[in-house]
Symmetry: C2
Subunit: 316 residues, 2 copies
């Protein structure tokens, strides 16, 4: 049996680098490393790439420091609406949930949709009901309340009003980047020993977003995509531009149809097309040989990778 070079990479969002002090920075590094170890444990045990990405993203969802699961941002209504997706590059199967409010780990719910339903994408109450029926852990709304996200929400509401007063123009959803914080969507891509690829992404979306808004993360082809014939991709950034540009599938299509490398494809889309369309963000891209690209057009992107040796490497 050929052993493929097991690889797991994660991101914790792209944007302006958070300048919130060394203690939080150290905590963020520690949580990224822990997520890498969680995913690596699956791969080292000859587990599937799809289970490794879900393990890594679950760990990031459980951290209050990223905009997914526990640390999700607030909607305009002061609520939380979470989106997540997972895709298995070996089978082409995928699962996604959008606009869920009470699931502790949206990425696990996405995996349940993939494994236990004929559907790919479920939203809102229907998604919550399906996940609950299949044993997903339910969380109280209070679980998603963090002081920092609430302060961000308050600032976004205030700034929005001020800006409206000032220039009279309609503004997009709250822009955390101006706030010195990061977007914080989380995601993972993995290659397992059997040579299978997988990708997963999870997010709380944009601070102060409109209720019902779905970003790119749970959309197969936009924020999440995996195909053994090309690459696994998890993206993060201004979701609307990423949806229109079908970012994850476009990177995969360049690899497949133009025979360029994962790095070249990621650069073409993230460094050329997305800025030209007025978008900001990044993506992590992995191929079956273990070639990994981590590309962003923002000031920074929380990211990390772990290989067969099991040593997590983290950067921002």
């Amino acid at each position: 049996m050929t052993c493929h070079p097991v690889t797991l990479a994660i991101h914790g969002g792209a944007g302006a680098i958070a300048r919130d002090g060394p203690a939080r920075e150290a905590a963020r590094h520690a949580d990224l490393a822990a997520a890498l170890r969680a995913g690596h444990a699956v791969l080292a045990g000859a587990g599937a790439a799809v289970d490794a990405v879900v393990a890594a993203v679950t760990a990031l969802e459980d951290s209050p420091l990223f905009n997914a699961g526990r640390g999700a941002v607030f909607t305009q209504a002061g609520t939380h609406e979470l989106d997540a997706a997972v895709m298995d590059g070996a089978t082409g199967r995928a699962g996604a949930v959008a606009g869920v409010t009470n699931l502790k780990n949206p990425v696990s719910a996405a995996l349940l949709v993939m494994r236990n339903s004929p559907c790919v994408m479920l939203c809102g109450r229907g998604a919550e009901r399906f996940a609950a029926e299949h044993g997903a852990e339910i969380a109280d709304p209070a679980y998603f309340f963090t002081d920092e996200r609430y302060a961000q929400f308050e600032r976004a509401r205030k700034r929005r009003r001020i800006e409206l007063d000032h220039d009279g123009a309609a503004r997009g959803p709250g822009n955390d980047a101006e706030d010195g914080t990061v977007y914080g969507t989380v995601g993972a891509v993995a290659l397992d020993r059997a040579g299978n690829l997988a990708a997963a992404t999870s997010t709380g979306g944009l601070t102060n977003k409109r209720v019902g808004r779905i970003g790119d993360s749970p959309i197969i082809g936009a924020g999440t995509y995996a195909d053994n014939a090309s690459v696994a991709v998890s993206a993060t950034g201004v979701g609307e531009v990423f949806i229109r540009a079908v970012v994850a599938h476009d990177i995969a299509a360049l690899v497949r149809y133009r025979s360029v490398s994962a790095q070249q494809a990621a650069e073409e889309v993230i460094l050329r097309k997305i800025p030209a369309a007025g978008g900001r963000g990044g993506a992590i891209v992995l191929d079956r040989s273990g070639n990994l690209a981590m590309v962003f057009n923002t000031e920074g992107m929380c990211r990390g990778a772990i290989r067969a040796d099991g040593n997590p490497e983290v950067a921002i």
Copy 2:
């Protein structure tokens, strides 16, 4: 000014050919022709492709004979959940609504999202509230009740039970094709005088579908995609396979990156990849030279096209 060969094409779903008598067949032909004329009127008046596809799809939504708007199928809960999307190939802008229950014309709501919101995709109540705020016409649930769809729903529920008793295996959402009816999702692609492409798709989804299920129609890249640099695509079929295969963007990527024709790209995806992935359906594809492909791997696909001469051509 170069005048591009204005073209509008529509579909009313792919599947088994409905054998419901000559009267309904004639009515279906008439409604397809009327939708073509509605879109053509926009193009003939030097209107934009995006307005032409919305006009054509609106006409099909207003017909009780297609599974979109008025004639939408029933969910498991005996309700209606409608999905629609529109994309402008000139600007790359797009709008979509998913899981809406009370909007008379979901495709118009998708256009409102595109034009009046920083979002691309809105779902459920949030989408309904946004559309209502922006003047969308609200419909009573009774508006979507048709005897034929209700009978289909009853048959699907019954058959589902029987099949479960028989083979014990979990089944996908109701399969209308076995019922001698068509899927009935509707869509349009257009090329306007200025050389701009656009696509729109609208659907009620699958009969007896799970509440909260989102199919490929409202997903940019899956059921709907348009880019002046390649093609405009509207797809119809088993949504889950179409989402996983990112059908509309894959067709566009083949045109753009492999320089094949719209016809070759549509055949590669609809006749080779989709059946290999266990999927059924079709797509209509249009390029900036007016080359049109209407490809399906099912027994039939309701479809039609109209060119500069204004004579609608319809086939099933």
